[in-house]
Amino acid sequence: MAETASASTIIGPTIKVEGKLQGEEDLVVLGRVEGSISLTKTLIVDEPGVVKAEISVAHMVVNGVVVGNTTASDSVQIAETGRVVGDIKAPRVIIVEGARFRGAVDMGELEAPRPSASLPERGVTHSISTRTANVPAALPAHRATYAPETVRPATTPRPSAPASAVRSETPVAVQGKIHKKVVVKKKH
């Protein structure tokens, strides 16, 4: 028989568990679990496993079918044969080529690019409209610093940026309209 030393739990392909499952070890599901699963470690749903449950784990790897919402403190990976319907809340979510998924994904706070329309009207418009540029030469200290001619890498969002963190370069002529260079200071 299996030794008791931290063996992971395996639910075999013909086994069905209906109810609450909790534990502090890894769990491999090849059968069917309905209800709720709560683990401090990893849940692996392998083919032909089907889990229809609320899931709360550290890691989850899906090669089978999962229907239900998942909260993972570490990561969720939907592998090539995996099919998941439900919401995922985890800091890392990986969906590989071939995986199928439908639901919401929440990785927590993200610094998302905002429309520049939410900037104050102090002329930081990069529109190609026919509006004349009434851009003052110097702007109040409210916005992210523009470094002319340098590309700001997209992977380093500014954490302290106010509501409209526009990561833009120096406006240049589009359609023949010349906009003045604008320089704004970072708000602290």
Binding site: V67, I95, E97, P113, P115, H126, A154, S168, E169, V172
Partner: protein, 112 residues
């Protein structure tokens, strides 16, 4: 990949609607709406604040908006995407930052 019909390079910002059938590469900033029956690539350093309707989207940079692709969407590990995705195939790489809904066709067993 076909030669890009349009490149928004990193010093350029465009605000408005963009449509057509050639590939698009965004290295700068695009804001508005894009309806392009081709491949859109948002490179690292590129920013798009727009709803996108396309065949294929590959994101290495930052996108805010909803995308509907008829073929495929791929969010790479340098990307930040906020918004909804809908496509037959969607890939989210390890390290990608994403928040929104993802909608793919998911065939489920009948006894679910």
């Amino acid at each position: 990949m076909a030669e890009a019909a349009c490149i928004i390079s990193n010093g350029i910002q465009v605000r408005g609607n963009l449509s057509g059938s050639g590939d698009l590469i965004v290295q700068g900033r695009m804001e508005g709406k894009i309806a392009l029956q081709a491949h859109i690539t948002v490179e690292q350093g590129g920013t798009v604040v727009a709803n996108l309707e396309t065949q294929e989207l590959t994101v290495h940079g930052q996108v805010s908006g909803n995308t509907e692709a008829s073929e495929r969407i791929s969010i790479s590990n340098t990307a930040i995407y906020v918004g909804d995705l809908r496509a037959p195939k969607i890939v989210l790489e390890d390290g990608a930052r994403f928040r929104g809904n993802i909608e793919m066709d998911v065939p489920l067993p009948k006894d679910i």
